[in-house]
C-alpha cells in the first residue's frame, strides 16, 4: 500500500516537473524566436547612417532614423520627469501612510490604470493636452506615456518600501531622527535598488508603446527638439513603415525594431545590474 502510493507520487512528481519545465521552455523559445527573427531581419539595415541620417522620401534609398531615436528619448524623458517623482512619492504615501480608505482608493485606481489599454491613454492625452494646445506635440506624447508609468512606479515603489522591515524605521526613530528624514534617507535608501529597478522596467515598458503616441506626439520627418511640435518616435515610425507598401521602408522598420529591442534590453540589463549591487536588502 505504502510503496504503491510512493511510486504513484513519484510518477506524478515527474509528470508535474515535466509540465513546469515544458511551460518555461515554451516561453523562452517564443522569446528566442521573436528576438532572432528581429535580429536576422533588422541587423542587415543597421549601419552608421541608420543612426545619424534622417529618413529619405519615398523612392530614394538609404537614410536613417536619427530623428526617431532622438524623439523617443525626448518623449520617454518627459514621461520619466513627470512619472518618477509622482510615482515614487505616491508609493511613499501608500506604503508609509496608506492605512486609510483614501489610500485604498488610490491603490485601487492605480491597479485599474495599470490595466487600461494604452490606446485609451492616448485618447485621454489627446483630449486633455492636444486639443487645448491646438496641435500634436512631444509634450503631449510624454504626458500620455507618463500616465502609463505613474501607476507602475507607484505600485512597485509601494511594495518595495513596504518590504523594508519596521525594525529599520524604529531604529531610525530611536536615534531621534525626524520621521520624514527616516523615510527619505533610511527607508527609501534601503529600498532604492528595487525602486530603481522598477523605474527602469517602467521606462522599458513605455519605451515600446506606440498607441498612446499616435495621436499625441504624432510624427515628424525632420529632426525636432521642440516640445510643442510633433515629434518622430521609433515606435510610431515602425508602425508607419512596417505597414507601408515599400520594401526599403519595411527594412527600416525591421532595423528600428532591432534598435528598440536592443535599447529595451540594455535598460533591463542595467536594472538587473543595479539590483545586484552591494547593500541591497
Amino acid at each position: 500500500m505504502n510503496s504503491f502510493s510512493y511510486l504513484k507520487r513519484r510518477i506524478l512528481n515527474r509528470f508535474m516537473l515535466f509540465l513546469s519545465y515544458g511551460s518555461a521552455a515554451f516561453g523562452v523559445v517564443i522569446l528566442f524566436l521573436i528576438l532572432s527573427y528581429i535580429i536576422i531581419k533588422g541587423a542587415s539595415s543597421i549601419n552608421l547612417d541608420f543612426f545619424i541620417k534622417l529618413p529619405k522620401p519615398t523612392g530614394e534609398t538609404g537614410g536613417g532614423i536619427a530623428n526617431a531615436i532622438v524623439g523617443s528619448f525626448i518623449v520617454v524623458g518627459i514621461a520619466s520627469l513627470i512619472a518618477i517623482p509622482v510615482g515614487v512619492m505616491s508609493g511613499i504615501y501608500l506604503a508609509e501612510f496608506g492605512k486609510n480608505k483614501f489610500a485604498s482608493l488610490i491603490r485601487y485606481f492605480a491597479d485599474v490604470m495599470n490595466g487600461i489599454p494604452s490606446i485609451v491613454t492616448g485618447i485621454v492625452a489627446y483630449v486633455f493636452v492636444v486639443v487645448p494646445m491646438h496641435g500634436f506635440s512631444a509634450l503631449a506624447g510624454g504626458i500620455a506615456l507618463s500616465i502609463m508609468m505613474i501607476p507602475i512606479i507607484t505600485r512597485t515603489s509601494e511594495e518595495l518600501i513596504k518590504m523594508v522591515p519596521d525594525t529599520i524605521r524604529e531604529a531610525g526613530l530611536a536615534l531621534g531622527i525626524p520621521q520624514w528624514k527616516v523615510i527619505l534617507f533610511i527607508v527609501l535608501r534601503t529600498a532604492s535598488t528595487g525602486i530603481v529597478t522598477g523605474i527602469m522596467l517602467a521606462v522599458a515598458r513605455v519605451g515600446g508603446e506606440t498607441a498612446p503616441l499616435l495621436f499625441t506626439a504624432f510624427n515628424n520627418s525632420f529632426m525636432s527638439f521642440r516640445l510643442d511640435q510633433p515629434i518622430s518616435t521609433m515606435t510610431v515610425l515602425i508602425y508607419n513603415y512596417a505597414s507601408s507598401p515599400y520594401p526599403d521602408w519595411n527594412a527600416i522598420a525591421w532595423g528600428s525594431a532591432f534598435v528598440l529591442i536592443i535599447i529595451v534590453l540594455v535598460v533591463n540589463i542595467l536594472s538587473k545590474m543595479f539590483t545586484n549591487t552591494k547593500y541591497s536588502l
Partner: protein, 252 residues
C-alpha cells in the same frame, strides 16, 4: 544619587489590551536598572514607553507621566524626536541599516540630526565605535556593509550608533538574547564600561544577567510592577512571594 527618570502612573495599551498597569518607578542616574519578568509581562512595552517609541505602533496608547530630569516627556509641548535624542535605544534583534556601511551606520544619527562637519562626524564615529569595544574588529572595513558583521558585532554596532548621538539614557531591550554566550559576555562588559556616563535600563530574560550587570531590578508580571529594589535585595531577599517564585525558577 539623583533620579534620572521618574515614572508615574504609566499605563499602556495595544488596542483594547492593557499591556502596562499603573507603573510607578524611579530610575537612578548612572545606574543600571534591569527589568525582568516572564514573556508577555510588559517589560519590552515598558522600555518602549520611556523613549516614546511605543506610540509609533498602530493602535498603541499610553498615559501617565515619565519625568526626564523633572520634565514630563509626555507633555504636549515635548517633541518626541527630541526625547529620543536624549533617550537612546538598542533593540532585541540587531538592526543596523542594511543599505549603509559600518561608518555610515554610526554616522547616520549624527548626520540626520543636522551636524554636517566631516571631521567632527569622523571623530564621533571613531569614539563611539571604540567605546562599544568594536574598533579593533572593524577599523579596516569601516566602509564595508554593516550586514556582513556577525550578530554580536552588529549589536555592538547598534550600541555604537546609539552612543554616537550622545544620549543621556540608553534603553536596551534584551540586547543579548539573540547572541551567543561570548558575545553576550562582551555586551555585559560593555554595559559595565559605559554605565558611568549613561543611565542604562536593560530588559532581560536572563536572571543571571540581571544579577551580574544591574544595580536595581524591577520584576514585572502581567503588566504590573510586582517589586522594585536594589538588585542584591531582589535576588537574596525578595519581599513578594511572586518574585521569589520567579527568581527561584518556580514559574516563568
Amino acid at each position: 544619587m539623583a533620579k534620572k527618570l521618574i515614572i508615574e502612573h504609566l499605563n499602556a495599551w495595544f488596542g483594547n489590551v492593557q499591556a502596562l498597569k499603573d507603573i510607578n518607578l524611579d530610575i537612578e542616574e548612572n545606574g543600571v536598572t534591569a527589568v525582568i519578568g516572564p514573556s508577555g509581562c510588559g517589560k519590552t512595552t515598558f522600555v518602549r514607553c520611556l523613549n516614546r517609541i511605543h506610540e509609533v505602533v498602530d493602535n498603541a496608547k499610553v498615559n501617565g507621566s515619565v519625568l526626564l530630569d523633572g520634565e514630563n516627556i509626555y507633555s504636549n509641548t515635548m517633541d518626541p524626536v527630541l526625547v529620543r535624542r536624549r533617550i537612546g535605544m538598542v533593540f532585541q534583534k540587531p538592526n543596523p541599516f542594511p543599505s549603509m556601511s559600518i561608518f555610515e551606520n554610526v554616522a547616520a544619527g549624527i548626520r540626520l540630526n543636522g551636524s554636517k562637519k566631516k571631521n567632527e562626524i569622523a571623530d564621533r564615529v571613531e569614539k563611539s565605535i571604540k567605546m562599544s569595544a568594536l574598533w579593533d574588529e572593524v577599523k579596516d572595513k569601516l566602509y564595508k556593509s554593516a550586514t556582513a558583521l556577525s550578530g554580536g558585532q552588529q549589536q555592538r554596532l547598534c550600541i555604537a550608533r546609539t552612543i554616537a548621538i550622545e544620549p543621556e539614557v540608553i534603553l536596551m531591550d534584551e540586547p543579548a538574547s539573540a547572541l551567543d554566550p561570548i558575545s553576550t559576555a562582551r555586551i555585559e562588559e560593555l554595559i559595565q564600561q559605559i554605565k558611568e556616563r549613561y543611565t542604562i535600563v536593560i530588559v532581560t530574560h536572563n536572571m543571571q544577567q540581571a544579577a551580574r550587570v544591574s544595580d536595581y531590578t524591577g520584576f514585572f508580571l502581567l503588566g504590573e510592577l510586582i517589586e522594585f529594589n536594589k538588585t542584591s535585595d531582589i535576588f537574596t531577599n525578595p519581599k513578594d512571594k511572586k518574585t521569589e517564585d520567579y527568581i527561584t525558577g518556580r514559574f516563568g
